[in-house]
Symmetry: D2
């Protein structure tokens, strides 16, 4: 088996010209697409509809080439889009394909596995059900990716459901209890519980700790490979496991590194240097073509400070804290990679260290 | 003579506790304060009143120690505040003092000079008058700083007036022509014309090029030491020249570097390495205490791209482009300096290269 | 002929359940749909993609019932969506159908006609070309609606193209001149020129006055029946003429009234009373079911005042002026109609009196 | 005794020219000022510093006329400012004066009383302490206003403390429990608890119901005369009671009316008609000069609907729900009053009916 990643720029949320062109030129076989991950133009919050718009646009394109309805594509392929391209960030999407016929390589190569939880209702968000169902889906996706050892998993990208005020109120009126009464609050609970589920599946968090009462309360618990987004356009947790496996071949590798706080430039450099990039400190232009996709999670530190100095992200009534943090950390990582088409996602609850987050990078293996 | 810089954190725009404490402990002599430069909590746009709020708060404090009215302090001391602490940035202000009795040192040291243009009306913003009056004020401030050679100037910080819709309409109705009909547009014109004036005074821009028709049109023209802000709380261009001079003593130095674009991490590193910092790539914690103040200008590249990839800053109707760019570049520079109390200001029209900007750093001289 | 209007609520921009249900129940014949007008969830500015998302969602639904591709539906049916449901406003869309077989009635009834201009490029926005092409399209739509007398036209709804920063820069680089260099500015120019075109076609503006130099400069010129929106999802001016005609039958009527300023409650009442509503001052619940669709244009008065008092809409860097004004005028009109599913659109340049706008209402004729 | 109200426009938060002029002309005696209530330019949320800026600006002016420090004025006079002048609303402040020598009139006249609670810490916000301390302060202010009967109270304006993320985290770290972990959430809890306290003091809410567990949960409980704001610029609940009393003289009256929902135009009309205004439906220009001050509370209905139709206020990540609702209800009320200098405040938790709010109006008595 062999995994490949094609990254396309996105001029607007319905712009599928990049993938269309690649399909028409024979560079991408639409039947082999296993998932798509990307950043869209919206605000990344509850009322961001650019994620769903790109999903249907890509599903229509892929469906038209496979002679199936767009809805059939949506049911099979996870489209994991995070809104919010603040600052220097550039909208884009990365298409993952798997060639099941390809030979395994010498050593490990990029491996991909996909799984879905059952549908989740508002009362199941942020609680034990979401933790456990996510953990089960991660294990299933690992098995499909033929990754046996959790330390070979470098990114678990999850997209889970978000709900608006009307859905939450409706659940409450029908006697259900929701982990939060506000749309943004419930989104955060869902990301947090899903992250605990990933940590549980990856043996980063013990079974006794992966409990609902730890959600958004015990930030010592985290997965350093979990990247969780939420949006109203999905109704279950869609799980993509990315890691390294000897059962796969190809020229791509993935690695990851936790970020200790929002200005942990050293963490980013550690990763690029470990992956063999020429970086002083920006990845040299001659080497930056090896980058296939970058994934970053980050969050505004909850005590209102960074290294002892006040930040204002959590007090700003005009600009959401997620928009603040994505812009800042995106700027720092773009400075290192010399590349702005990065998947930078806020809301890193239990995803990397408290106040920090993580970075994962897919790149062509360095020439020996 | 000897210049000193004290940087204080700002919990809210009226928080003058840092300077009060320093005055009461005898660390700062209020009579020697020549200017204050800082970042406040607001949006940095026309309706940002946090700049004026901090100005009056500091003027009251200083005035109470000097037994003069706050208004007298405001008339003498430039308070140059830029709003907008997006992302990791931390609100703060830097108080510049001058000891006229101190001996000159061996070699050059930080030098400061201050000057004001006459009051400017809406029709004088962004046109030849503002270019020429700014250039004259820069020359006057250089003379006061006893800097003869323009290459010894490393930062010209200017705060000029901004006007709301009512003021602009009122000028138009009285038969005046304004360079832009919108408050934000006129702010940009004013920053641009002031930057051309600085460039003219520093011999970076030729006299024949420092003309009104080049404002916001010929971006090949720029000053790499100009940093211009605008706000409704001032009515003239307040000019502070910072540079190096053999006539001054003390332990502080200043240097600067242009930024070629919004992700020019290399430019930031060049500066910190040239100033003798231990940076790999983040300035080592053991060395970061030498940083006294950092000043950054940046802007969203006007063609909507960065290194060929689309950015969305100029199309976002919910979040102003200046808030985008400050957050991103602030994140990158904070990553290098390991410090978030940075003066990062958007709107770098003719201030550094097109699409880029500049960074200036005041630090304690490295131990020999 | 007979025109009918069905209004459906919109839970999110892809929610076409209302029309789907109506088609499946036989209440709406998809072949008879001539246009759809609605309000979507976005910000109504350049980066509002909810308009395009609803367009493709509805086009897919209608196409599936007619066995044609969604793109064929988009090419034939104007989908005129305005983003921004600030305050009490509720997202919705109104589907206009025409039964060509129906008999004419006694007296006049609601009449509909549709036309398109050719595609417009960025340099054609806001200039004479857009004025003249719009006027021609209005005349064509009037002819199709069989309305001979311009005083029988009560609403000309136009949706024209908007362009992002990259498109504008690209046009400029290729030597073209654009009426504004900013995306929001060009949107405003386009609305203004289109309004002058409508006014020309309706004999509200003289030929000698319908010139490019009057665009956004001579606000004495306006059409009180023009309602113009712009968005990146269309590439020509899509024109829908709504009026009264003796050639049409059915139970619906339309009327309109200019609004003198943003708080012209009297203007709204004049209209509802003239249309026979029981309103004291809110339309009685027993009578509000007669309302089929309401259309409002409004704008923040350009001198920064309303009846001599300052407003802050034009100085707010956090919240666009269009979002301000839609919320305020929407609240006032909803108070009168007792209904929040209103098409309220900002940017009333030359659409109704300076600082004001207009309201048009489609309702069932009052029982005699 | 006699109360008077002077309303002044506010061009920016430090603009005290209106009151200065009135003092200098002898229209206002600064020694008789008992409170100031107004709307400022900010967002009305946690990071709105325009409230504090106007407070200190007015305190400096008043203090300079009374030969006392500004801080002494701040300690004695409640400055109750609410940020957020969305849509048509106009920044302004109303200065309340009391002449203790004036004779009582025939019948009842406007009466004013002021009181303060002790300082409140973050853990006291939104809980029983705030309910009880507020009720006690209301009773004290009623006594000072010489209003014996609670039905003669028409407005209890309260300004209570708000806290940023750092303060809340600091309280939590020191072992305290806060009613909400987010700045905006705690603001809402504080408004809600204060409203229950007002309702308790006014006999609108029974003692057994005025308990912490009802805060933000039992919305059947409300005071129809409570108007609560919060801001970081105060540290206790400042309470102003406004009502009618036979012990007072003068030409002013006050009355109030609950609003059943956000589009309750009928409620507004009931009030203006009951107060003898000529309104059809807008107050006639000849009569609008009688209006001295208007106070409105409103809120986005929590189930996400208004009269069965969806609203989007609670799902909007770019524009806070309070900014939405103030703009909409402000537009409606301005339409009736023909006046935009209105105190419209969001966050009507337990202040008027669920989903609605209230309006209170101070006006000159109608000529007999």
């Amino acid at each position: 088996m062999r995994a490949d990643v094609h990254r396309f720029s996105l001029s607007e949320p319905s712009d599928v010209s990049g993938l269309r062109d690649a399909i028409e030129r024979g560079h991408v076989d639409p039947a082999r697409i296993v998932c798509v991950i990307g950043k869209t133009h919206g605000n990344g919050l509850v009322n961001d509809y650019t994620r769903g718009y790109l999903s249907i646009s890509l599903a229509r394109l892929i469906g038209s080439h496979l002679n199936v309805e767009a809805e059939a594509v949506l049911a099979r392929v996870p489209f994991i889009f995070s809104g919010g391209v603040e600052g220097v960030l550039s909208p884009h999407y990365s298409v993952f394909t798997v060639d099941p016929q390809a030979d395994r390589g010498a050593g490990k190569s990029l491996a991909v596995g996909v799984a879905f939880t059952p549908e989740l209702t508002p009362d199941q968000i942020g609680v034990q059900a979401q933790i456990d169902l996510t953990a089960a889906a991660v294990r299933q996706a690992m098995a499909r990716a033929q990754i046996a050892d959790a330390t070979d998993v470098h990114l678990v990208q999850v997209k889970g459901p978000a709900f608006g005020a009307a859905d939450i109120q409706s659940a409450v009126r029908s006697g259900k209890t929701c982990a939060s009464g506000t749309p943004g609050g419930l989104m955060a609970c869902g990301r947090a519980a899903s992250a605990l589920g990933v940590g549980l599946a990856l043996d980063e968090i013990a079974l006794r700790d992966a409990t609902a009462d730890r959600v958004l309360s015990d930030f010592r618990l985290y997965s350093s490979a979990a990247s969780i987004s939420a949006g109203t356009e999905v109704r279950c947790n869609e799980v993509v496991v990315l890691g390294m496996s000897e059962r796969w071949g190809g020229e791509l590798m993935i690695d990851h590194e936790p970020l200790q706080d929002a200005i942990d430039l050293g963490g980013v450099l550690r990763l690029v240097r470990r992956m063999g990039f020429d970086a002083d400190p920006q990845v040299a232009q001659s080497d930056s073509g090896r980058i296939r996709s970058a994934f970053v999670k980050c969050e505004p530190q909850r005590d209102g400070t960074i290294r002892g100095r006040m930040h204002t992200m959590l007090n700003d009534g005009d600009m959401d804290a997620q928009r603040h943090i994505r812009g800042a950390v995106g700027g720092m990582v773009a400075g290192v990679l010399g590349d702005t088409a990065l998947f930078v996602s806020g809301g890193a609850e239990h995803q990397g260290p408290y106040g920090g987050g993580l970075i994962a990078l897919i790149a062509e293996k360095a020439a020996v």
